[in-house]
């Protein structure tokens, strides 16, 4: 617990913002500003990461409730408090966010050459929003951070993106905003019914069954777009392709998790009956997503687009796991979210390495890269294997647990999820073959240099994590086991209570 009374979570949340303000104050010519902005951003995010490790060491996995809690009156008239805390479910997402941000900043060290100051500010603001969102224990605070993410991300895609960046940025923004405002209405309805927006307080005020369905759908509108679930996933390939490398990493690594996290944090505990009622729908959409987007991924010529579609498929596995309502399924879903955050982030970084050298994401422009970039080929292979859930890598425990959990709900769903694994292996290996193996036929590929020390430094922690998560998964599952068990217990208790509709 937070015995010292030190507001660690607030510090983690707002330190990046302080870094952004510091960058704003840098004076001098363009080159000085750029280099100072880079270093300031890197140091800020590294300090935040180191501080976030305290969470990891001092977190007590035997406690299901929120830890490191902070509470301040914010809008006392309306029962809204600035309430922060992490439990087993959210703590690792905070760490994921704080880990990926310095990696992203390092990854853009040379790739981003214009408007460096603004770029670094955008990333630090983004970090504030992400960390704040995972720490928020109040629905309004959560919503503020959840939506606030859109502002820096819109600018990152729009200013530093590729050819069709304007279209992609608008699509990303408006799509997600549309989903979120519907959720806002449901939040407001919960707010005035319970007189509080505190998440723990809301749990004590059961929502009548007939309301649950509408509210579930409103929350679904927001989280399904964020996850993204089929058929509202279409913004994702565009956003991924057009975003700069680091933008894609954050998008795949953290922003997609916000949807899954939202389902787990709000939809399932607040609307247990509606969740159970809509579970078949969620399964159906997820299975379609897994199979459909895997097939689509085969047809892609663009590396980033292929990985983007694979993200949709992997997140489909996550939503299957969440709605099994059993320990394996939910545990697996959380594991899958974390491992996907690391692995897909790393895959986008791999594409970024190639893109920085050749300035193309087209698969056909590559081939035979293994001969001149052996270290890169090895790294890329590891992450490809993790993406196809090879045992021993990070991808495996999550998918395995989800499929185990899904078996207990329905064999067909498990079969669908399993199909996803097979198809995933096929398109990822095919991608790998086309880019890395075969003979070098393109002139521009001949002169490529292997990974620089900076790039190795970026990949090293991700490689370590990928192997660690694959070889010793229980060091991660331990963290959330108790919280998940409590969540399932509450869910089952809510369902077993005779219906008290109208109360």
């Amino acid at each position: 617990m937070n015995a010292a009374g030190f507001p660690l979570l607030s510090l983690l949340t707002f330190l990046p913002l302080a870094g952004a303000v510091a960058i704003l104050c840098i004076r001098g010519d363009e080159a000085t500003v750029a280099s100072n902005a880079r270093w300031t951003a890197l140091w800020t995010s590294l300090i935040v990461f180191v501080l976030s490790l305290i969470l990891w060491f001092r977190f007590d996995p035997r406690v299901a409730d929120a830890q490191f809690v902070e509470q301040l009156a914010w809008l006392p008239d309306f029962g809204v408090n600035y309430h922060m805390g992490v439990d087993g479910i959210s703590v690792l997402f905070v760490l994921l966010s704080t880990l990926l941000t310095p990696i992203c900043i390092l990854a853009s060290w040379e790739g981003v050459q214009h408007r460096v100051r603004e770029y670094m500010i955008a990333f630090l603001v983004l970090e504030t929003m992400m960390v704040g969102m995972f720490c928020a224990l109040d629905l309004i605070i959560f919503y503020v951070f959840f939506e606030g993410v859109l502002i820096p991300m819109f600018l990152i895609i729009g200013v530093w993106g590729g050819q069709r960046r304007v279209y992609a940025a608008f699509k990303f923004f408006l799509y997600t905003l549309l989903g979120s405002v519907l959720m806002l209405l449901a939040i407001l309805a919960l707010w005035f019914r319970a007189g509080t927006t505190d998440i723990a307080g809301l749990m004590d005020v059961p929502v009548p069954a007939n309301w649950q369905y509408w509210m579930f759908l409103a929350f679904f509108a927001s989280f399904a777009v964020k996850v993204p679930m089929w058929p509202v996933h279409t913004w994702l390939p565009d956003a991924h392709v057009e975003a700069p490398t680091a933008g894609s990493v954050i998008l795949a690594g953290v922003l997609l998790k916000m949807g899954g996290y939202g389902f787990l944090r709000f939809s399932i505990p607040l609307f247990p009956e509606a969740s159970a009622f809509f579970a078949p729908l969620m399964f159906a959409l997820s299975v379609v997503a897994v199979i459909y987007t895997s097939i689509i991924a085969f047809a892609q010529d663009d590396m980033k687009k292929l990985i983007a579609y694979s993200s949709v498929a992997h997140m489909g596995i996550v939503t299957i796991g969440l709605f099994t309502f059993n320990q394996q399924g939910i545990s697996g879903a959380i594991f899958q979210m974390l491992s996907h955050g690391v692995v897909s982030g790393a895959l986008f970084l791999c594409v970024g390495v190639l893109y920085d050298r050749v300035h193309s994401r087209e698969i056909a422009r590559y081939g035979g890269v293994a001969k001149i970039m052996p270290a890169f080929a090895l790294v890329f292979m590891l992450f490809t294997m993790a993406s196809v859930a090879l045992p021993g890598t990070a991808g495996f425990p999550g998918e395995f647990l989800v499929i185990t959990g899904a078996w207990r709900s329905s064999g067909w769903v498990a079969l669908g999820a399993g199909m996803g694994m097979i198809l995933g292996a096929a398109y990822m290996l095919w991608l790998y073959r086309r880019v890395i193996f075969s003979r070098i036929t393109k002139n521009e590929v001949k002169g490529l240099l292997d990974l620089s020390p900076r790039e190795l430094a970026i990949f090293a922690p991700l490689i370590l994590l990928t192997l660690w998560m694959g070889l010793y998964p229980s060091s991660f599952t331990n963290v959330w086991e108790v919280s998940v068990a409590a969540l399932i217990e509450r869910h089952e208790a809510a369902l077993s209570v005779p219906r008290l509709a109208g109360l």
Binding site: W74, D77, V144, F145, G148, L155, V166, L182, L184, L188
Partner: protein, 473 residues
Amino acid sequence: MNWTLALPEILLAVAGLVLLLVGVGPKRDMTFPITMGTLGVLLVAAVLSMATADGVAFNGQFISDSFARFAKVLILLGAASGLMLALDWNEKQGIARFEFPILVLFSTIGMMVMVSASDLITLYIGLELLSLSLYVIASFDRDNERSAEAGLKYFVLGALASGLYLYGASLTYGFSGSTNFAAIGSAVSGEEGASLGLLVGVTFVIAALAFKISAVPFHMWTPDVYEGAPTPVTAFFASAPKVAAVSLLVRVLADPFADLAAQWQGVIWLASMGSMILGSLAAIRQQNIKRLMAYSSIGHIGYALMGLVVATDTGLRGVMLYMAIYLVMNAGVFAVLVSMRRQGRSLERVEDLAGLGRTDPAMAIAMVVFCFSMAGIPPLAGFFSKLYVFLAAVQEGYWVLATVGVLTSVIGAYYYLRIIKVMYFDTPAGALDPRSASASVILAGAGLFNLLFFLFPAPVVAAAGAAVAAFAG
């Protein structure tokens, strides 16, 4: 006779007359000293307004309560920011005259009388004092055809609205026997209830006020007048008079006509719905940024009215909070618009902002803040203004209105994003002239307010709550 309650208005009126004399006296140009004098008087009036006690003066013609105080401070703030923006702009445009600040001053008196009115006649006097001053400043750039057209259009349609108001007021007087709000209130809540004539009267009064706040379907004048009038005048139009007219509408409907809520709610519901939809859809294709802001203001009025439809404490509080935040966002956006000038020529197209992110990063960042705030994206202030009106609507089960509201806010986000896109994603169209110190002050102030509002929302929210508490008792 408790005339001290009207001390701020009296001070402003006397100061206006004195400044007028000072202006005509000397041979040299007195614009700058008179503007400064006006700003000073506005400041003193703001302090006095906050200090006035509760009470009724002039035989029930004039009321001072927490609501009036809140609205007056907003009005004075809006007027002062409008004046500051005009100071530099008028000079560069070659229309700097000392009458301008004085006209703004008189219109401010009109607005303050409006929000303190507790009688239909006082209300009319305030409304006309406001309107007549606005007609003149709309065509202040008198050699410019569009400005003259704006003034004329505004005058003709404004006169029509005044006519509507007088007709409605006369019906109300005829069927209730009094022009005093308290007396009308007791007539409405009498045993036999409101007569049909009274209802017609109320509807006409609402129509006239809807014209002033440019709510659909009385919005037609807004885009033309906003486009034609000199930019700082547009800034002024979109801020203080809107706050005054909305406050007035709140007072009239929540005080004397509170018992007719079931009848007027439907009317306001339609106006709110129409304004939100029209404001968001019509703005999409606008090329002229002032016209765009005109439609945007129509949309914002729609959201504010949503709180009035609900007419609960939370709803009315939402309206006042909305207007307070809207005022600040608006001042910020217009500070940017006023600064849009290249080689001495003022610019009005959205494209003229192209590349502002590179040529003037500070102003571009401020504009980004205002645009996201207007679009209602958290954590900026504009989100909270929408939050309260939506909360009120959801509380009372106005689901259709709330749903349309959030959907139109997504559509609205599109055209605010377009401004950001032009500033950041497009190639620069050349640097703008350096912005004036007054615009910078307003940019910084409004920008910080929008950015930091989320840290300490409670005081402003509480102030708005205290304001509408005046109607509870």
